[in-house]
């Protein structure tokens, strides 16, 4: 393994934090969904790195599943967003507070 595992961890952590930042700060449902995807990919990077470190392919297999699930999640999420936009005329999460 050429890249040290620590670097992999740092990259993944950075990506994850960026994902959180995106989710918490951006004022658009689409960007929030995008942040969630970034976080998901950060987790996937760690799995790949770990599987290389311990020479165990299970981690990479799981990542394949994660891709599939992520694709499904994005499609469902986007469908929700489109539907919500039609209902409210906005994709700003600040307006989704009728449960308050």
């Amino acid at each position: 393994m050429i890249v040290p595992f620590n670097h992999v961890l740092a990259l993944a952590g950075l990506l994850f934090l960026m994902g959180i930042f995106c989710v918490v700060v951006r004022r658009s449902l689409i960007m929030i969904l995008l942040g969630v995807e970034v976080m998901l990919n950060a987790a996937a990077i760690i799995l790949v790195g770990a599987s290389l470190l311990w020479h165990n392919l299970d981690g990479q297999a799981i990542v394949l599943f994660v891709f599939a699930i992520a694709a499904a999640e994005v499609s469902v999420g986007l469908a929700f967003i489109v539907w919500a936009y039609r209902r409210t005329g906005s994709v700003d999460p600040e307006n989704y507070n009728i449960l308050k």
Partner: protein, 627 residues
């Protein structure tokens, strides 16, 4: 105890004697406050039955061999059982009878003295409360029970001193009495704890048993004896806690007669007698008791020489006589102290009750004022005062002479002659200030203002007040002749080390000489024709000031209070209150509000705030679990 108490006449009598006044107190407070006559009737009925029971007990157990102890369990908590009961022996039976007799007479007397007072019912309720507490205290078998009733007696005293609570000085005096005696009681309680730690219980008989030396070291006996003596100092108004007693004269005069001369203040001396065998294990402590008794006796005598207030004179003389009793006991003669306690109760109550008649009739406490208004024309009180004063001064054949002589005899047995000299000096001063008052009342100087019309009997109820005086005067006259009987009675007391009082043939003469010396000096200055009625002390201004200001003891306490207590201690506590406690509580409140504000932001229904919260919590949980 409950099951078979009816089968034991003594126990029944003890319960009747001690608990009827409590019943009277409760009934009066709850039901009959609006009916003064009924209240007085209840109270007097209760105390009459108590008196009969007390006399019955005394007569029945006159030749008691071993102390009778009845106890039942009062409080049980785990392994600890607090007993409640009665201890009947010579000391307690005699004291019970004295208390019952004086309480009874004073309550009768109060019918006249307090007639028409707005708080008549309340007065009798407190009197009953006092009688209950005092009688239970005398019969206590354990120090804990004694301590409880000791404090209740203090409470009754506080209530009665401040009886006329609309008078500012009366409430102040009540407070002073309460706080000052409390000082002593703290020491008393610490002493009891010390005994409890070593003996495991506070049974009086066990404390008095000779075996106590094996269970407590000498040092601890001395320390606990001194601490317990602190309580005696407070209650019996000994040096340095003596200034509450003169102020306590703010209460109604019968109260002064009952509590602050005859019974309550004598409780201190009674406690000394109660624990006499315990105390006598420690020679060092006894030495200190002797010193304290002597100082109090002399200080109070000098104070009495300059005051003009008739009740104050008797108040000082009370302190001084209590000092005498403590001297007698500390000199090793239990009998001397108890004998003087008994006789003193009689004649001191008499003096106060007579003073009450004067005050009631002339509405003045000033002896010169009473004299000017014709005090001597109230025949019965004047004669009774003279009899009691002669007893107080120690003139034969009145009761005080015999008891004082026994004390002086005990003092003469000591190796150091200083104590005997102090005792004789005290006797001299006592005679002097007593007869100063008598001569002032008997020989008014400005008789011109003595008017025929405005004295005496129109206040009504005079005969009610007269009878107790006559009975007490009779007791004072004859008590001395029963000295032998009393001595034999006290021989039966268990556990008192037999210290034969040495017989000094010259002792009666020395006692009479010192007393007569005082009387003669008083006659020269106050009695004889053309005397200017100014005492030798009053001619020396600094001395007069010193005595009149009570040796500046009160001033000292005041300064101490202002500088140390208010300036330092209470200041510190105040700061602590404001900064630490108030600040802490305020901080808590503000912190809660701020947290609430912050948390409320999260509850605005914002999806992203919730997400943020979830992340923060997860991170914190992660930190918590991994590190």
């Amino acid at each position: 105890m409950i099951a078979n108490w009816l089968n034991e006449p003594s126990l029944t009598a003890a319960i009747l004697a001690t608990f009827l006044p409590l019943g009277a107190f409760l009934l009066i407070m709850v039901l009959t406050r609006k009916h003064p006559r009924l209240s007085a009737g209840l109270s007097i009925a209760a105390i009459s039955i108590s008196l009969i029971s007390a006399i019955f007990l005394l007569a029945r157990h006159w030749h008691l061999d071993t102390p009778l102890e009845y106890t039942g369990r009062w409080l049980v908590s785990g392994d600890v059982a607090v007993p409640f009961g009665y201890l009947l022996d010579h000391t307690s039976l005699l004291m019970l009878s004295v208390v019952a007799v004086i309480s009874f007479l004073v309550q009768i007397y109060s019918l006249g003295y307090m007639a028409g007072d707005a708080g008549f019912s309340r007065y009798y309720a407190f009197m009953s409360l006092f009688a209950w507490a005092m009688m239970n205290m005398t019969l206590s078998p354990t120090m804990l029970q004694l301590y409880i009733f000791w404090e209740l007696v203090g409470l009754a005293s506080y209530l009665l001193i401040g009886f006329w609570y609309e008078k500012f000085s009366a409430t102040q005096a009540g407070k002073k009495a309460f706080v000052m005696t409390r000082f002593g009681d703290v020491a008393f309680f610490l002493g009891l704890l010390l005994v409890l730690v070593h003996l495991g219980n506070l049974n009086i008989l066990e404390m008095n048993a000779p075996g106590v030396t094996a269970r407590m070291s000498d040092t601890y006996i001395t320390i606990s004896a001194l601490l317990i003596f602190g309580g005696i100092i407070g209650k019996s108004a000994q040096f340095p806690l003596l200034t509450w007693l003169p102020d306590a004269m703010e209460g109604p005069t019968p109260v002064s007669a009952l509590l602050h001369s005859a019974t309550m203040v004598a409780a201190g001396v009674y406690l000394f007698g109660r624990l006499f065998p315990f105390f006598s294990h420690s020679a060092g402590a006894m030495g200190i008791f002797l010193i304290i008794g002597t100082i109090s006796m002399l200080l109070a005598s000098t104070m009495a020489m300059v005051t003009r207030d008739i009740k104050q004179v008797w108040a000082y003389s009370t302190i001084s006589q209590l000092g005498f009793m403590i001297m007698g006991m500390a000199a090793g003669s239990y009998y001397a102290g108890m004998f003087h306690l008994t006789t003193h109760a009689g004649f001191k109550a008499l003096l106060f009750l007579c003073a009450g008649v004067f005050i009631h009739s002339f509405e003045s406490n000033d002896m010169f004022d009473i004299s000017r208004q014709g005090g001597r024309r109230l025949k019965t009180p004047t004669i009774c005062t003279i009899i009691a004063a002669a007893a107080l001064a120690g003139l034969p054949p009145f009761s005080g002479f015999f008891s004082k002589e026994v004390i002086l005899g005990a003092l003469a047995d000591l190796n150091n002659p200083v104590w005997l000299v102090a005792g004789l000096l005290g006797a001299f001063l006592t005679a002097y200030y007593t007869f100063r008052l008598i001569f002032i009342i008997l020989f008014p100087r400005e008789s011109g203002t003595e008017s025929q019309s405005d004295h005496g009997h129109q206040h009504g109820g005079y005969w009610v007040m007269g009878w107790p005086l006559i009975i007490l005067a009779a007791v004072t006259v004859i008590m001395g002749f029963y000295r032998g009987a009393l001595e034999a009675f006290f021989q039966g007391q268990q556990g008192i080390p037999a210290t034969p009082v040495g017989h000094h043939a010259w002792m009666p003469f020395a006692a009479i000489a010192s007393a007569l010396g005082g009387v003669v000096l008083a006659w020269l200055e106050f009695g004889r024709q053309g005397a200017d009625q100014v005492g030798f002390v009053e001619k020396i201004a600094p001395l007069n000031n010193l005595f009149a200001q009570r040796w500046y003891i009160d001033r000292f306490y005041r300064r101490f209070l202002d500088i140390f207590i208010y300036g330092v201690v209470s200041n510190l506590f105040n700061q602590n209150d404001k900064k630490v406690i108030d600040g802490g509580i305020d901080g808590l409140g503000k912190g809660t509000v701020a947290t609430g504000r912050f948390v409320s932001i999260l509850h605005q229904g914002m999806v992203q705030f919730r997400l943020l919260t979830i992340f923060v919590v997860l991170v914190l949980l992660g930190l918590y679990f991994f590190f």
